[in-house]
Symmetry: C2
Subunit: 419 residues, 2 copies
Amino acid sequence: MAELYCKMTAEQLKTEQKELFARYNKFKAKGLKLDMSRGKPGADQLDLSNGLNEVNDYIADGVDLRNYGMLDGIPSCKKLFADLMGVQPENVIVGPNASLTLMFDYISQCVTHGAGDKPWCSLPEVKFLCPVPGYDRHFTILEYFGIKMVNIEMKEDGPDIDAVEEHIKDEAVKGMFCVPKYSNPQGITYSDETVRRIAALKPAAKDFRIIWDNAYCIHDLDDNGDELLNIFDILSQYGNEDMVIEVCSTSKITFPGAGVSAIIASDNNIASIKKRLNAQTISYDKMNQHRHVEFFGDAEGVRAHMKKHAKILKPKFDMVLEHFNAELSGRGIAEWITPKGGYFISLNVMDGCAKRVGELCKDAGVTLTTVGATYPYNNDKKDSNIRIAPSFPPVEELNLAAELLCICVRLACIEKLLG
Amino acid sequence: MAELYCKMTAEQLKTEQKELFARYNKFKAKGLKLDMSRGKPGADQLDLSNGLNEVNDYIADGVDLRNYGMLDGIPSCKKLFADLMGVQPENVIVGPNASLTLMFDYISQCVTHGAGDKPWCSLPEVKFLCPVPGYDRHFTILEYFGIKMVNIEMKEDGPDIDAVEEHIKDEAVKGMFCVPKYSNPQGITYSDETVRRIAALKPAAKDFRIIWDNAYCIHDLDDNGDELLNIFDILSQYGNEDMVIEVCSTSKITFPGAGVSAIIASDNNIASIKKRLNAQTISYDKMNQHRHVEFFGDAEGVRAHMKKHAKILKPKFDMVLEHFNAELSGRGIAEWITPKGGYFISLNVMDGCAKRVGELCKDAGVTLTTVGATYPYNNDKKDSNIRIAPSFPPVEELNLAAELLCICVRLACIEKLLG
């Protein structure tokens, strides 16, 4: 039975530290080079989609896929995404290989042209609400455009909506980033109540936009996945159809670097996005859209495919969590949530210890997501949050990496307690 | 021997008109539906690149092409473009399927972040120089961002540089769009002298940027193609390395909708573009980059491939020009340049007649590029320029379309002369 570190004497902690250092040094001697930094699928997951490349027909949906045209995507691919996301095809634009680009480009459009009101670049200040911990690449977009980020604490059923409701009284607050299902990094799925309260928001800014990054919409780890209320089913009840811009992609369904993305929005927003796209491109890659349609057939085909990913991913998540349970629980030094899907496990260690854990891991050859990156401006004030990405390393390597991580967490906390 | 229309009597013109209308009505009765509007390759051209789809290896340049990463493109593809364009790989970023997107995104970056000076959105006015006639999609980008377009007349060896030198004394003039080889629509290649004078410009705006859209860099119609001086070879002589942003793509080499593009720029500009890209995407489609590298092997492979395109395109250009020579020359109603490459023939008809030619063609089932679109704001003050895109229709259809076009030109001019 593990003992609470805070209850241990300095002598006891030093004994513990000595044992842990012995284990740590053994790891170090192995000269490991393991990467748990990013939510990258492993090579075995990528192999699941190699059939994508077998398509050889060039005419589909009545057009030559190789040639120019079809700004918003081929109808069959729009339908595939519409069926998956529970919306109408006319509210879908199929995009490039990264939904990140769709989000960046939409924010850029708001900066230069606004979202129905003045261009954001003409305003003295623009702020966005950022549930924390959150996805570093969202923060990077906002920071690039000089949009001020306001932290919103994540609760166990989504962002703190009381705080959101308070902040949106400020007209400079123009939007919020959300990962509503299997949030990055905590793996939290917003409750129906949270989604309803978000759909019902009455922001002071009439051009308030929620970027609903549904990156993990069908990314369950087993048959017992979370259900997310479809926000587009309820927005109209509150007259808020234009408030939400949803994105998703096949990055973690087929190939991260060569998938297709989609943006889902109201008629008004689709029109304004198309107006921009008409200047920005002639069409996205229809060949790749068709490859995906042919490979999956329909939305059911995509869901069946996701079960294959789950089979590969679940043991990896389980392994990390087993190590956490074995080495970290009961010591009062770390907390985590067991996610039912997504790509991450979020670990909160004793305040002031996260960066040190990152250093210790790095020195022993294990790369974590840059500690602090889960907060805007890289500023995790408590220095507590660590994002674990278990997907990429093969399972044997992950076993080593997770054990090492636990050793480093314990060592960092002991150092802190010994002062 | 054709007679000058302006020398003919009203009676003679009416007789001519009657004959032409008889021919016109015969065409109309055929119920044609022919498209000469856009520079789209024909299906036989697209077939040349079907081998692209045969690649099945997923590891190249030491990375898994399917996964995330490599923001600026795989090294082998960067090298392919570098060799083609005569620059160093480190000055190349491989982009998405459309160089149009690279141009739009770069201008957008200048609007929100500037090009070394203040963001353009913070300035009271931003102007761009536009050689005319020019490419409508360039104008669409500028119009989208509210950048004021200033016409610069095209001469036979490129834009009127005297006028350019005058306009750039105005600090609000921030840039210029150029299609330096086989210009769209005239097919003019800038002379060495013109390229040198452009490279030597000393604009009042320190953040002046020339978008060097080298869309037709290797798109000769036969072995007797034009040579364009490589502007990146001489910019440093004038301390102007940062003044030019070059783009190109395989849109008219492989598949217009599923090719790869590249942006070529100085070290400084590459760094600022990468800074933006780091927020905008994780990587472009490396699978597609690799398909292109495998398909071509090297720059010589691309050049050999272009000869196959030329074999298909040359007879189409010749056919249109034969009709022009047979029906339009000697009548004093139209002028054109015989291009050695590119995708267009630019036809200047008698002032005030171009729109009418478009209408007559449309009524008989032949779609031309929207008349006027070759000028900013769709404003061809002389109503004279028509862009002909002979690439898309099969040669038998093109034969009909070109004959009809000539009839329409003659009819419109007669109408005008008869008042």
